[in-house]
């Protein structure tokens, strides 16, 4: 085994351990540690990705001295490595972009705690990405949930705490269902490792035993993860949570945390149940319908919103709807589109959050649209970045959003019964996206008679500006040279099977 194969394990453990270390460090040092860890994990994931692309095969990694059905395992393929790399990039940028806001919004003595949360969140995301064991997944889902909750309420105002409570309640419902589904699954198969479960499941399907419990268990797990990733009817907690938490948190939560759960769902679909078996259930239809509804209702709520951060948050609901719609199509192409959208949405949404904070800063801290008038002139960098993000969300070519839209539509065309619904909703949703994002863009470039707010130049926001530029670059990279990414996703999915 090559040394590189240790990297997934290293990255998980490194981030876990750094969490522990941060607990004794002062805030500033914790920040440094945190950055280093994210960067290191990113580098490792990158190397791993290159390695895997070279070998073309995934590998499993024993967590301990015991092989598959007995010990824990993690597993790394192209998709996992790519996802980890991407998560690191986004997380690093989000952290860097929101760092200056942290000082205003979080007590200084608790900064190190914040970084602990981030580290643990990273480790849990990595574990979700790499894990090959259902129960490990459950445990890390819980870490993920709790640290996400911490990220929400670390800015301690009434709304965030309330949002955190709501978030926790929904998440716990989700975890409860997930765990219950897991238990049933375990009861049916006697395994906790994904690959073993899959073998047993295919045997069960062939023999026709335990069909109903099997379906119910899958459904429970799906619903649990849907709740956790804020699919449409379960999104009530989301706007406050994303809208009022400190900006890095919002960016990370919207772009990574929910994506972690979704990625886990993908893994469950592919590695636990089996793609074909999953597609033969009615569950995908339900996912499809809720996905479509999410796309529409999320956008509608966003249109009504009067607060830029909440608007972006509602837009997340819509975007998650896209992803589930891709699942619901039940084809490989739909899955690829969904995964690409995970990436593209992550890149875009964090960009939007970070840019929005730049805009609100020059508007007296208000996030009401009426105060944001002309903010694009006061903070040019944030304005341009926000515009770029909006365009990506609307699906203008050159940006990543276009490619994901393209992939979705291509995937939709191949599905007989769902084609029209998907295409039309895609169209409508684009229109709605255009309405609320373009409204904002035009608003920030409208002129205002009130010039009492200060202007910000590059000097005052070096880091922020650089981060924004990097985000835009990531976005455009995804949009322009999407083919390697799509290839990677396809390769990764092939490795899943």
């Amino acid at each position: 085994m090559d040394f590189v194969c240790n990297f997934p394990f290293f990255s998980i453990l490194l981030s876990l351990f750094s969490g522990t270390i941060c607990s004794i460090l002062p805030g500033r040092a914790a920040k440094v540690v945190n950055r280093i860890v994210i960067a290191a994990v990113g580098v490792m994931s990158g190397i791993l990705l290159v390695y895997l692309l070279g070998t073309g095969e995934s590998f499993v990694y024993w967590m301990g001295h015991f092989p598959a059905p007995w010990g824990n395992e993690i597993r790394a393929g192209v998709l996992e490595a790519g996802m980890a790399l991407f998560f690191c990039i986004i997380m690093y940028l989000s952290m860097a972009g929101g760092a200056h806001k942290l000082f205003d919004e979080v007590e200084e003595s608790k900064h190190n705690l914040y970084y602990i949360l981030i580290n643990l969140l990273l480790s849990s995301l990595l574990a979700l990405v790499y894990t090959n064991d259902m129960f490990t997944a459950y445990v890390f889902v819980e870490i993920n949930t709790i640290s996400a909750c911490g990220l929400i309420m670390i800015r301690q105002v009434g709304r965030t705490i309330e949002a955190a409570v709501r978030y926790m309640i929904m998440s716990l419902l989700g975890s409860g269902l997930l765990l219950f589904g897991l238990c049933i699954m375990y009861d049916l198969t006697g395994h906790l490792l994904m690959s073993n479960i899959k073998e047993s499941v295919s045997v069960l399907i062939q023999t026709g035993e335990y069909q109903i419990p099997l379906i119910v268990s899958v459904a429970l797990m799906c619903v649990g993860l849907c709740i956790k990733s804020a699919l449409f009817p379960f999104h009530a907690w989301l706007p406050d949570a994303y809208g009022y938490s400190t900006v890095s948190s919002a960016a990370i939560l919207s772009s990574l945390v929910s994506k972690g759960y979704i990625f886990l769902l993908i893994k469950i679909i592919y590695r636990v149940i089996g793609f074909d078996i999953f597609n033969n259930t009615r569950i995908i239809d339900v996912l499809f319908v809720f996905g479509l509804m999410g796309m529409i209702f999320g956008s509608l709520s966003a249109i009504k919103e009067n607060d830029i951060r909440r608007m972006i948050a509602f837009s997340s609901v819509a975007q998650i709807g896209y992803i589930y719609m891709g699942f619901g199509m039940g084809t490989q192409a739909g899955m690829v589109a969904s995964i690409f959208h995970i990436l593209s949405h992550a890149a875009t949404k964090s960009l939007l959050f970070i840019a929005a904070i730049g805009l609100t800063e020059v508007s007296g801290g208000s996030r009401k649209f009426i105060d944001l008038t002309g903010a694009g002139y006061r903070n040019k960098w944030a304005g341009v970045a926000f515009t770029a993000g909006s365009l990506s969300m609307v699906g203008v070519p050159l940006f990543s959003g276009f490619i994901s839209k393209l992939l979705f539509a291509q995937a939709a065309v191949q599905v007989e019964g769902k084609m029209l619904a998907a295409l039309i909703v895609l169209g409508i949703s684009t229109v709605l996206n255009a309405i609320y994002f373009m409204k904002t863009v035009i608003r920030i470039y409208a002129v205002t008679g009130d010039t009492s707010y200060p202007c910000i130049t590059f000097k005052d926001m070096k880091v922020h500006a650089v981060v924004l530029v990097l985000f835009v670059i990531v976005n455009i990279l995804l949009g322009v040279s999407s083919q390697p990414v799509v290839n990677m996703i396809e390769q990764g999915l092939a490795m899943f099977a």
Binding site: E162, V165, M168, I169, G176, L179, C183, I212
Partner: protein, 124 residues
């Protein structure tokens, strides 16, 4: 309806408890009651798991007298899972409770709806 409902009465109870907890978590407006619901839910799952691991007539999985025969002990895995689950449950309860404390200190009520209403007013 399958054949094993009565045999699986333990699981059935677990399921019922789970739903009670679930309903509580979903519907109670009082935060403390919600947390109790959460704990009921978790306990139901432990019960379920324990039932899963149980094999009639076998001992707990602690090697006694050096007997390491499969026939001697019940399945150890669910027990392990329950252990892990308990820790998670404790952590979550702690977190929820502390959130509740904060909210109570701030809004002097445990009713989530009232808190929401107050927030709406505060927000502007």
């Amino acid at each position: 309806m399958g054949p094993n409902l009565l045999v699986n009465y333990g699981e059935a109870v677990a399921a019922i408890l789970f739903c009670i907890g679930f309903t509580n978590l979903l519907l109670q407006t009082n935060l403390i009651k919600k947390i109790i619901g959460l704990n009921i839910m978790d306990s139901a799952i432990y019960l379920f798991l324990a039932e899963k691991g149980y094999i009639a007539g076998r001992a707990a999985p602690i090697v006694t007298n050096g007997v390491t025969s499969v026939e001697a002990y019940i399945n150890p895995i669910p027990s392990g899972l329950v252990l892990t689950g308990i820790v998670v449950s404790v952590s979550v309860s702690a977190l929820m409770l502390s959130l509740t404390i904060r909210l109570y200190l701030r809004y002097h009520t445990l009713n989530l709806d009232e808190i929401a209403a107050q927030l709406k007013k505060e927000g502007r």
